[in-house]
Symmetry: D3
Subunit: 133 residues, 6 copies
């Protein structure tokens, strides 16, 4: 399997509901470094999985509405804990839709899976990986 | 698949037996940066794989008896080469037991696998990954 | 000049006032990785600048009241923009006071300067460095 | 599964053919940090996947002919785009041949797979992973 | 002294003249990660050294003409070795001019010095630092 | 001022004497990543501070006798605590002697200072910087 991975970062505020979160129940924030890996069985005739430029654009388009925001106030995330794991899945869903709509400049069917990694600090991260078809 | 990964570090001394190790047969040491990834099919009702705080605690509890020690002198490691690969497996076994004993704050059955990565330097690392059930 | 530097991290929310900040005027947040360097002309009889353990403790004590908080709501920061530069200076002031009060386990007079670096993302950081005496 | 991974770096020039590459159609270059992971089900009697020293040597031997070169001029790469993905596969093929020829100091049959990661910058990388048998 | 530092990256080809460079006399290339630090004695009324957004823009404007280029072919660099040290100084000169022309959104006189760091690989970098006035 | 910095790594065992060190009084070890910066006012006619290749060789020559060793047993370090700070100074002294003996391929007088940084873990490092003349 081939993969190409690009990364972008956002700065957000949020809080969590649930005793398990301890002090993170308070309003706080994070710099999220988000890596999106596009996975394919074969390279296209240009010798790439997908165009890195387009991959960056798709990732930025997904992250833009979250950047410099308090995630607690976004209708999109009403009633959910926007944990690092959850954000991984949110980005996965958005990029999966983009791939399936052939928006990455390659027949979406040829992208077999995505893996989204979100680093919240030097000592903790989360990821979500799944096939697309 | 979802994963959440935390990291801790230890500073140890050890030596290896076997010609393949060359100068590493001498007593030397390493800073091991140890990353533990907990892997699950679904998030719990809080929106997490496991509590990051508990994950850090479990990893620290596993690494504590090794930190600032000469591994050659630990009865636990008598007669084995405490290679980076071996340490990965050792940490895996300890955390697997903790998960199976439901000590991570979630039904252990819901944690499907662990992946332990041990970085010995900027240019070399090892990992061990396996299902838990 | 000798220096020893330790690092810790915090996760905070905040917002900025001033057109120059653009979208960062909205409530957002950051993971701040904070590095504190203690600078001295000579090592003490143990061969250290200061005890790394104590340095970590002093840095944690300074950062604790900020961690998992919305800095906009802390009386301490009322009316100021808690920029990365500002946070560098805030940590400097707290650690400078600790050094001057001989709380680092060494005659504070022997610590000549501090340098505090705050990383807000992989692509931006700030620092503040000044002599202590 | 166990893995051990080593890394080396090279500095190369190249250009790409195809509109998708935009300005990268011009002659430019890259520092490629190349990580090679050797994957096995079990450790050998020494407690390792493969000797890290030999793994470094095998990776260096593969990368040597590319280092400080314009890849466009190498007969080996005539008519292909030497993308990050392509380089991952090229290194995979060379190391796979070395493993199959038992050149890593272990029966090649016991190495189940390789994963080659190539980082072209802090914000983009590619990898290729496949079983060897 | 306060500083704020931003980073950008470029991918370039070049070759060096002089026996000291060994194989780097051949046409090769590099990913240069370029960090620009703006240094001031005091923060402005907004609590910043300079606007990070403007700092990124100024650095991008300086690096743009080099990105995806063979530096050997740029009239600007005719007859010089575009070493990592040289590139540090080139970026310094361009940003110094921008600061002196008050293009960073603050009276240039209040920016006392610049420090430009260029990383060519994980194991080598160069920097140039000098006062501006 | 210009600088060029190279890095190498070693893996050592050692122990410390003194209550301040707590558990680090036990025999343990470290991976030391050692960075050596050579500082000059002007570039040489080739456009460099010193040849990066020679800088790597000089640093390796200094670190070689320490690598894969128990520093407690080296006559060179008899009776001293080989702290991270101390190792920084040790490397400084050796490279300063090499520069003064014109072994870096440039008139030593033109190298004004050295800065040696030793990273013992992702969260702690030390450095020593001083003029050479």
């Amino acid at each position: 399997m081939f993969a190409v991975e690009v990364s972008e970062q956002i700065m957000i505020a949020h809080s969590f509901r649930g005793e398990v979160f301890g002090p993170a129940q308070q309003l706080h924030g994070a710099t999220f470094v988000v890596r999106a890996a596009f996975i394919a069985e074969a390279l296209d005739p240009n010798g790439i999985v997908v165009d890195i430029g387009r991959a960056h654009e798709a990732l930025k388009a997904t992250l833009g509405p979250l950047n410099y925001r308090n995630l607690d106030e976004l209708p999109l995330f009403k009633g959910v804990n926007t944990t690092t794991e959850f954000v991984s899945k949110h980005v996965f869903d958005a990029l999966a839709a983009a791939v399936r709509a052939n928006e990455l400049g390659r027949n979406g069917r040829e992208i077999k899976a995505l893996r989204i990694t979100v680093l919240e600090s030097p000592s903790a991260c989360a990821w979500f990986e799944a096939p697309l078809w």
